[in-house]
């Protein structure tokens, strides 16, 4: 159990996909215009990550080496499409804000990266925990990044406006602010957690 627990904390800190591995930059920069968007995108990726990790760790032993990438991608794409259909059906409002980026989870390097680097070499349970850990790490990073950008850019937090009016620093809602925030958060993260 402590090994599985370590997999989760690893995903949060040591293997943090956003601030340490620098994977999945496209959804990270594009969807984190607000804390809620970042959180939802993180949770969507978490869902795909856990399921694809589980299935890939199950099928890995029988998949021939030369076709393993196409097979993994098909599995991942299936879960992403499944998620897209479910969101469209049951959470239309959320689908509206994130719809554009959901299909991009397929090409998110985190998902294929964890399938290649972890799930294909480890058991089902360990892979599931790795998926949860990395997924939570991704969700937290995106939420924090979204929160910082929302506070600076729109003057609100989780949709709650605290400055009144629409007078945030617009740059932070747009791409340049995304890079700036990501850079400074990365500095902060590495200062806090990296052991020399």
């Amino acid at each position: 159990m402590s090994k599985n627990f370590k997999l989760i904390t690893d995903g949060l800190v040591k293997n943090n996909p956003t601030f340490v591995l620098l994977l999945g930059m496209c959804p990270t920069l594009a969807t984190t215009t607000s804390a809620v968007n970042g959180l939802s995108m993180g949770l969507a990726t978490l869902f795909v990550l856990v399921l694809s990790n589980v299935v890939i760790s199950l099928i890995a032993p029988v998949v021939p080496d030369k076709v393993h990438i196409p097979v993994y991608i098909v599995v991942i794409a299936t879960f992403v499409t499944l998620l897209q259909l479910l969101m469209q059906a049951f959470t239309p409002a959320m689908y509206e804000t994130l719809g554009l980026f959901i299909p991009l989870i397929v090409v998110n390097c985190i998902v294929l990266g964890r399938a290649e680097a972890f799930a294909s070499k480890n058991g089902v349970l360990a892979s599931a925990f790795d998926g949860i850990g990395v997924g939570i790490g991704f969700t937290c990073s995106l939420t924090v990044l979204g929160l910082v950008r929302e506070i600076l850019g729109s003057g609100s937090a989780f949709g709650w406006n605290f400055i009144g009016g629409n007078d945030g620093m617009l740059a932070f809602v747009m791409a340049p602010g995304a890079f700036l925030c990501l850079g400074y958060l990365m500095v902060l993260f590495n200062k806090l957690f990296k052991k020399n």
Binding site: V62, V63, P64, D65, V71, V74, L85, L86, G168, M174
Partner: protein, 186 residues
């Protein structure tokens, strides 16, 4: 570890994976089709309801204007047509900007709402949230006011720093107004 690759097992594994995945997706599609359609209908009804006064029922029709086909919902109350909710789509700053424009039979804009947009968050996307910008469409009478932004000599207050989006919005409303003029009022 992974099995040694040969043609037979590669075809077999990749084929089976694709087959299973398509089956799963086919099933999911069939299961979610109904709620997705229901959500789309609910969204349309909400959009029609938000741009027109209370109505009994709507019928979906279309009209040709400027070589384009405009789809609209004719809202009827007590046997009388009380307005048209026109779907109007133009190119905005970041992509297509689709509006639902409610117009009463005398050609006055009742209200508008955004169906979908791809405008910049924090700038053009405010066309969907900026209260001042949205409120000016209520009761906008195109026969006495000009449907272009003030910068271009019209009567529309543009969203700060989003002139292109505001222009597109005004154009979409104008197109809808033009389309309604061509509808056969009975």
């Amino acid at each position: 570890m992974a099995a040694v690759s040969n043609l037979k097992n590669m075809v077999l594994v990749l084929g089976t994976t694709c087959l299973l995945c398509s089956a799963v997706l086919g099933g999911a599609y069939a299961l979610t089709k109904e709620p997705i359609d229901a959500a789309a209908v609910a969204k349309t009804n909400k959009a029609v309801g938000s741009v027109l006064p209370a109505f009994d029922e709507t019928s979906y029709e279309s009209v040709e204007a400027d070589g384009k086909t405009y789809h609209y919902y004719k809202a009827v109350k007590g046997g009388e047509t009380i307005g048209y909710a026109v779907e109007s789509s133009v190119v905005g700053f970041g992509g297509p900007l689709s509006l639902m424009v409610g117009i009463t039979p005398d050609g006055v804009v009742y209200n508008t709402s955004v169906l979908s947009h791809a405008e910049t968050p924090g700038l053009g996307a405010k066309c969907n949230t900026d209260v001042k910008f949205m409120a000016q469409w209520e009761g906008f009478d195109p026969s006495s006011k000009i449907l272009t932004v003030k910068k271009d000599g019209g009567d529309v207050d543009a969203i700060t720093a989003s002139t292109i989006t505001s222009r597109a919005y005004a154009l979409a409303v104008q197109n809808a107004v033009n389309a309604v003029k061509l509808i056969d009022h009975e």
